[in-house]
Amino acid sequence: MQERGERRAVKRFLLAVLATLGFVLTSPIATRVQSADAGTASPTVKVWFLVGEQLVSVVRPGSTPQAAVQALIKGPSVAEYKLGYRTYVPPATVLRSLTVAHGEATVDLSLNFALGNAQSLDARLSQLVHTASGFDGVTRVHLLIDGGTAYGMFPGVVTALPITLEQLETPAVPVWTIPNPAPGPAVPDLLAAQRRLVALGFLLPGDADGKDDKVVRVIPVSTGKPSTPTPAGNFKVYAKFAKWWSTPFQEWLLWAVPFNGGVAFHEFPQVPAYAASHGCVRQMATTARWLYNFSVVGMPVKVIGNSK
């Protein structure tokens, strides 16, 4: 009965999102993960990973930039990984040296740090700069690759010069627009969607008539691809951004409604009929603004299942 009561309380916000996967419902959020060592008296360093489209920090034992970058290379813990934390730094990366002088950290990494697809390169560079900048006095990070200068290896970022957080966090791409967005698919039968959710076990049998918890809209989406699935769980919308700059991927997310760290509902130019995102719930222009207006901060979001 108690469960039923809770579910009634959220019925106005019950929303089914169909496509590659992803369904929305309830509950509290965990946007930060504390490592097992957090909260102890031991010194810790801050290391930056990604959840969805944004950077989030975790703490690790240590007190030096070297320890922080080593922890960065090591990647998220198993527990963090299960919660959707990802790193784009190749695990085989070798920290050849790291020195700090005059507010500038010079980080020399092996070549594999500079190889990969464009978005992955941008993301890992953001991780590195945030992590190495987390120390008193360090405001710039000079990246070396195998002791040499990287020319054009990180698209859009000049690594021949020291890099700053401000540089990465400043939106550098115009906000994209879709002049004539394609019309969305036909509005499906909401009652059929209601029954489908019942059949899948996401709603109780008594909800099949749609008189209690009610599907109000069915939205085609593209959620996290298998390597970066949309983390399942119960969350709440914690902010709304008409446009949200993704520092790691250097791109705009429009009509963003984040509910789990950097995981958000947002508009995106490409919404393929398969899971393709970094963890977010992509929508087409035809629905993203509607969901943005529909959402309120604190709105429960329940992600049921994810890409396999």
Partner: protein, 303 residues
């Protein structure tokens, strides 16, 4: 069949003042089916004579997104990738040279008079009469036009050469883009960069120029996402320039008959390279040529 627009930002300033509004780029038209590429007479039984026996030393001017990027310690390039790099590797293969060494150079040094520390230079070098007095060139391997980028905040966008004239233009000193800006657009408003610094690249240039941003070429993304990291593409100034591979005067590789044109099937040999150089926005009028027409009429379309 011409099916793609390719380009590289080679003629603008990385150090332009904030008031600079325009930049020029070289836009290349790829013959998608075939491309003429300098290569070597493969009937020669012995490897070509080069500066270092058994090795082809290639002058490059990193970086240029899509064409040549990499890592260098001083002038010693320890890793390189891109269209130009693939081209040089293919030439070495046809020369029966097992080793290839890339040497980082300033662009201007590649085409200046004097002794060269390389056997060939591949760096999107437009063949000009002036440069031909200093170095020899292969047959053209790519045909390009000058493209024009607008600063991020510029509105309305110009759609004619006349529309460019009130604006401040920026181009790399000594480049063919600077020549076009000075001779065909607006002599008074053209600024050229003081010099080409080692870290000069298109990304920095556009960023400084327009708040724009450069990312690896991805035509599919460009098609769907609108403005890209190159900044807003305004149009082309048709120049039909030709890129060629530079060779030192008198180089053994430069002897008649040693270097001759050969048709290379890009479909077969270069799908990766082809993808790297497609930076335009096919289907969105990216190849539209700027006309000399009156700005008042044509620019009224701008948004």
């Amino acid at each position: 069949m011409k099916t793609a627009v390719a380009g590289a930002l080679v003629a603008l300033s990385a150090f332009a003042p904030a008031t600079v509004k325009m930049a020029t780029i070289e836009m290349a038209t790829i013959e998608m089916a075939t491309i003429e590429m300098a290569t070597i007479n493969t009937t020669t039984p012995k490897p070509a004579a080069t500066l270092t026996p058994g090795q082809l030393t290639v002058g490059v001017s990193l970086p240029s997104a899509g064409f040549e990027t990499g890592v260098a310690r001083g002038t010693h390039v320890i890793y390189a990738q891109g269209f130009d790099i693939d081209l040089a590797l293919d030439i070495a293969k046809r020369l029966d040279l097992a080793h290839v060494e890339f040497v980082q150079s300033r662009f201007g040094d590649l085409v200046s008079v004097g002794k060269k520390p390389w056997d060939i230079a591949v760096a999107q070098i437009t063949i000009t009469a002036a440069r031909s007095r200093n170095v020899s060139f292969s047959r053209p391997y790519m045909t390009v036009d000058q493209g024009v980028l607008a600063a991020k905040a510029l509105s309305p966008l110009p759609h004619s050469l006349a529309g460019l004239r009130p604006l401040q233009l920026c181009a790399l000193r000594g480049s063919t883009g600077a020549d076009v800006a000075k001779t065909r657009v607006a002599p008074e408003q053209t600024r050229t960069t003081a010099r080409q610094r080692p870290h000069h690249d298109a990304g920095l240039a556009v960023r400084r120029l327009s708040g724009g941003y450069l990312r690896r070429t991805d035509s599919r993304r460009a098609q769907s996402a609108g403005p890209t990291y190159y900044g807003t593409f305004v149009g082309l100034v048709p120049t039909a320039e030709h890129y060629g591979i530079a060779l030192p005067k008198g180089s053994p590789v430069d002897r008649p008959g040693r270097c001759r044109a050969r048709r290379v099937d890009l479909e077969r040999d270069g799908p990766t390279a082809r993808e790297q150089v497609v930076v335009g926005r096919p289907g969105q009028g990216a190849r539209a040529a700027l006309t000399p027409g009156a700005p008042a009429q044509r620019d009224s379309r701008a948004s």
